[in-house]
């Protein structure tokens, strides 16, 4: 009998690719945001509204991740923004290898901001580094108050949290007070933006914060050279 010690990270292959992606993105001074949520939280609508606000101010690209269909990519394309669709065909998350291939397929690889819309899932995407600058989590008031405590890792890892469908708040039992209290325990530092992709409510604050991040990234890149 022989024992072979490995001490090898099971996600090591992904993490190596994520580091390569991060270096490529940093070299171009672009901000990369990994957008994550459960299915039906309104991620794509929020992304469309975000694009409306940003167009003309900065250059954009989008990588869309879905199990099947290119419906989301077509919605983004209609906005006149370059987009590549990834179909995971059953896989529950995007990985760094998928992102590097998709990025190579964008028509223009120089941009200020790249959005990666992850597969709708609050569990697995939290584990897979894509080479992004930060994770943004979207949840909607219609999903109920229990989401942060049931999926703590993804909320813990987020740099920013978007509470969507605020226009539906009066029709739900969602408690903003409890939401704030739960986040105090899980992620006390992430800013929370209360928005509605449908009505545009709260978008200005989110856009201002996001543009600040884009500028910060650009400044970092200038300093490095």
């Amino acid at each position: 009998m022989v024992q072979v010690r490995m001490e090898a990270n099971i996600l090591g292959a992904n993490e190596l690719l994520a580091r390569k992606n991060r270096a490529v993105f940093a070299g171009r001074g672009m901000l990369v945001v990994n957008l994550m949520s459960s299915p039906g939280s309104g991620k794509t609508t929020l992304l469309e509204k975000t694009i409306d606000h940003l167009q003309g101010q900065i250059t954009l690209g989008v990588i869309e991740g879905d199990l099947y269909t290119d419906q989301d990519a077509r919605r983004i394309e209609e906005k006149g923004v370059q987009v590549v669709q990834i179909n995971t065909e059953g896989a529950c998350h995007l990985d760094a290898g998928m992102i590097s291939k998709a990025y190579e397929n964008l028509s223009d690889r120089e941009m200020d901001l790249l959005f990666i819309e992850n597969v709708g899932n609050l569990v697995c995407p939290a584990e897979f580094d894509l080479g992004e600058d930060f994770k943004a989590v979207v949840m909607s008031v219609a999903e109920g108050n229990d989401k942060p405590l049931k999926y703590p890792l993804i909320f813990r890892e987020a740099k920013v949290i978007l509470l969507n469908k605020m226009d539906l708040l009066p029709y739900t039992d969602f408690s903003l007070e409890r939401f704030g209290h739960d986040l105090e325990q899980i992620n006390p530092t992430a800013p929370v933006f209360k928005v509605s992709g449908r009505t545009g409510e709260g978008m200005a604050e989110w856009i201002e914060w996001l543009l600040g991040e884009v500028k910060g990234k650009r400044a970092e890149n200038i300093k490095a050279f």
Binding site: M1, V2, Q3, V4, R5, M6, E7, A8, N9, I10, L11, A13, A91, C92, H93, N121, V123, C124, A126, E127, P148, L149, K150, P152, L153, R156, E184, Q185, I186, N187, P188
Partner: protein, 125 residues
């Protein structure tokens, strides 16, 4: 949800290493899994058994999983404690939310055990 692909990754690492080390049969594979990783031990066992029975190298292999508790260092009171509730990142000693997770995100292949192929230099298995 992605336990099958995790196990496939583990078996790929073991298969490569076994062929380099002239090991023809794997008896045991040991993983370390933190409670804060998104991999569930039961699902890992299920995936391991399902995949291993189709391959001679792994047919009789046993999966052992060591689970790691979630540990944190508190930036307020400087104490180290175990976090029992996965959904509450609060220092159990002083109640501060300014903590750093020091253990619990592990997800690695610790070691495997196997039997060497009889006869030095043989590549068979």
């Amino acid at each position: 949800m992605h336990e099958f692909s995790l196990i496939e990754g583990v078996l790929n690492m073991v298969r490569d290493s076994a062929s380099q080390n002239n090991i023809g049969k794997v008896n045991r594979v040991k993983l370390v899994v933190g409670r804060l990783s998104m991999a569930l031990p039961d699902s890992l066992h299920f995936a391991f058994e399902a995949i291993c029975k189709d391959e001679d190298l792994f047919r009789e292999a046993i999966l052992e999983i060591e689970e790691k508790e979630i540990m944190c260092d508190c930036l307020a009171c400087q104490r180290s404690s175990e976090l029992k509730d996965i959904y509450s990142f609060i220092c159990p000693a002083c109640g501060s939310n300014r903590i750093e997770i020091t253990q619990g995100r592990e997800l690695y292949l610790d070691y495997y055990e196997g039997e060497e192929v009889n006869g030095a230099g043989s590549n068979g298995g």
